[in-house]
């Protein structure tokens, strides 16, 4: 099946919309006003902003405690530093229902594939916080047994500390909320410009096909 991708936002495209709108309005409004008219009608930016605001305020963290940082994460849920006042108290056990993975604790090499699998099972848009020094860098234990989380999964916010105070974790979560409310691209590949590692079945024998998710050089800026 041939998949073509339409690029929106170029000058030609608005012209098409403009022409259609002109046809619709029978020439009552002219160029710039017409563009403004079309944009206001669609309300893209404001609606996106509203969705992003709602998304940021309704994170469902996944219960993913690994080691000592998990105890401090439990303190964040506790009564003193109440995570419920932000609306994030609904910790879901199933990754299918969660959208925030707080990696709290040290990720050993035995656990890394399990973490990756849990992250893959989460539905987009999903976010990840590396809580503590051990998963962000190697922390106290720079040895054979640990893997820094950046090596196998994309992390949005790193919270330093060993273990980070619950206030520090809260600060990290709020920073993540601000990031979400800034409406970044939902898919993690766009967010991190992580192109070049996708797999597409069958695209190799049809070069030049504009398949989805295949990096064509020159298409994305900066990658």
């Amino acid at each position: 099946m041939e998949l073509t991708r339409e690029k929106l936002g170029g000058a030609d495209d608005l012209r098409i919309r403009q022409l259609r709108a002109r046809d619709m309005l029978r020439g009552d409004i002219s160029d710039e006003e017409l563009e403004r008219y079309v944009e206001e009608r669609v309300l893209t930016t404001t609606l996106d902003k509203a969705v992003a605001w709602a998304r940021g305020n309704s994170l469902f963290p996944a219960t993913f405690g690994l080691a000592c940082c998990a105890i401090e994460m439990m303190s964040v849920v506790g009564a003193r530093l109440d995570i419920a006042r932000f609306g994030f108290e609904a910790f879901r056990a199933s990754p299918r229902q969660a959208d925030l993975l707080i990696l709290s604790g040290r990720v050993s090499i035995k656990m890394a594939p399990v973490v990756r699998r849990i992250y893959d099972q989460m539905l987009e848009p999903r976010w990840a916080i590396a809580m503590g020094a051990c998963c962000s860098s190697m922390g106290v234990f720079n040895n054979y047994a640990l893997v820094p989380a950046d090596k196998f999964m994309p992390i949005d916010v790193h919270v330093p500390g060993c273990p980070p105070r619950p206030e520090a974790l809260m600060h990290g979560i709020l920073k993540l909320r601000a990031k979400i409310q800034g409406d970044p691209p939902a898919g993690w590949r766009e967010r991190y410009e992580a192109f070049g590692t996708e797999e597409v079945v069958g695209a190799a024998d049809r070069p030049g096909v504009n398949a989805v998710n295949v990096f064509q050089s020159g298409e994305t800026s900066g990658a």
């Binding site: 219960t63 993913f64 405690g65 690994l66 080691a67 000592c68 998990a70 105890i71 401090e72 439990m74 303190s75 849920v77 506790g78 009564a79 003193r80 056990a93 990754p95 604790g105 040290r106 050993s108 035995k110 656990m111 399990v114 849990i118 051990c134 106290v140 234990f141 720079n142 040895n143 054979y144 047994a145 640990l146 060993c162 273990p163 105070r165």
Partner: protein, 417 residues
């Protein structure tokens, strides 16, 4: 893995055989055995514990724990660091009883060095150890109640825990993994106001523990889930090497604080709670009663807290006080040597056991005469206690399995190290 190298247990894992046991309630009905996987990401396993459970219906026929999901190579890392720099590394092993990890390690090194710990330091250590024991039992109680469904208790226990962590922060600046215990004593004396706060805490802790008992002790659901479930007799427990509240719940009053007192525990008067039947309910009651005893020990230690140095005066082992560096050349040299190289420990091997909230926590240190340990091994109680899961849960339901895991109190950081 190709078929040739598949191990027997994996094959057994994937097979479905008919159970040898007769189905409960049915005449001549045999059921299929099904092997399922619980964890490592699971809301009810305490940490990253993976259990491969062979079930017949809802009844657990066999159980194999798979661990290693939070293996951190602590013992290998500690070999790479000077003796006092290994303390923070070793502290992070059993992450709910960090003072105990530090105590076992420092005790082993002090034994090798034949270093005297001043009386005041011993009492301060006891205060912090018992406060840590209360904190560990609070987290245990909260998470166990959460597993059983009594979710409110979790909030109450963590509220108490916050006051405790305030105390730790007062004495050492950190809530967890405080690096407070050093070889030869403690790193700093307690500040003004600490004693009053601790006394206020122990007073409220007793009332709060009464409240938890009122919520749980005679609760019909708790009784049905814990009374009589998964008992294990003392002889099997001893054969498995199980110590701590699990052994005490079965009736054996073995407690290293009384049997082989260390760090001035012989000066304090406290009781050892012991159970009668060895089932889950006894394990819960034993740990709950230990909270009161720990409060008593803390109060007695504060009453009898002697004046004196808080760390050994041996400048070859402990850092000199800061103000001496301005005037004394020897202090400067000692400080320099200790910070850069660290103290050297005479060669030998030592095993130092203490009583942690989960059982016997032992530290084995092999020294080769240099300033870095040649081998540090922490004998963690959860690692050995986990072997009791299978005998305990054979023949019981999955719900009992969850309750038993909760009452076992495994801390996977200690299991995996």
């Amino acid at each position: 893995m190709d078929a040739v190298t598949v191990s027997d247990y994996r094959r057994q894992e994937e097979s479905i055989t008919l159970s040898a046991e007769p189905a409960p309630g049915g005449e001549d009905l045999s059921q299929e055995l099904m092997t399922i996987n619980m964890g490592p990401h699971h809301p009810s396993t305490h940490g990253v514990l993976r259990l491969i459970v062979t079930l017949e219906g809802e009844i657990v026929r066999d159980l194999k724990p798979v661990i290693g999901y939070v293996h951190t190579g602590i013992e290998k890392t500690a070999e790479d660091k000077a003796y006092w720099k290994a303390i923070p590394v070793v502290e992070r092993m059993d992450y709910l009883s960090y003072y105990f990890n530090a105590m076992a390690y420092c005790g082993a090194v002090e034994k090798l060095l034949e270093c005297e710990v001043p009386k005041r330091a011993q009492y301060l250590r006891v205060i912090h150890l018992e406060l840590n024991r209360i904190m560990s039992h609070l987290v245990w109680l909260g998470t166990s109640a959460l597993d059983l469904g009594a979710i409110s208790v979790w909030w109450y226990c963590f509220r108490e825990r916050e006051s405790l962590l305030d105390l730790f922060e007062m004495s050492s600046g950190q809530r967890m993994h405080t690096r407070y215990f050093q070889v030869g004593g403690v790193i700093e004396d307690i500040p003004r106001g600490f004693e009053a706060k601790v006394r206020a805490f122990t007073k409220t802790m007793r009332t709060r523990a009464d409240q938890y008992a009122a919520l749980l002790d005679r609760n019909e659901i708790v009784l049905q889930r814990l009374r009589g479930t998964c008992p294990l007799d003392e002889a099997t427990l001893l054969g498995l090497g199980v110590t701590g509240p699990l052994l005490r719940a079965a009736g054996n009053p073995w407690d290293l604080r009384k049997a082989a007192p260390y760090s001035s525990y012989e000066d304090f008067d406290f009781k050892i709670p012991v159970g009668t039947q060895g089932d889950n309910y006894d394990r819960y009651r034993v740990r709950h009663a230990e909270i009161y005893e720990s409060c008593d020990i803390v109060d007695q230690a504060l009453d009898g807290l002697p004046e004196g140095p808080f760390i050994t005066e041996d400048r070859k082992v402990a850092l000199p006080p800061r103000h001496e560096l301005a005037t004394s050349m020897e202090a400067l040299i000692h400080h320099f040597k200790l910070v850069t190289e660290g103290f050297r420990v005479p060669p030998g091997e030592v095993y130092y056991p203490i009583e942690s909230p989960r059982g016997e926590l032992g530290c084995f240190v092999l020294s080769d005469g240099s300033s870095k340990p040649a081998r540090v091994h922490m004998r963690d109680p959860s690692f050995v206690n986990l072997q009791a899961t299978a005998p305990m849960t054979r023949g019981s339901y999955i719900a009992d399995l969850v309750a038993t895991l909760a009452m076992l109190d495994p801390v996977l950081g200690g299991v995996d190290r």
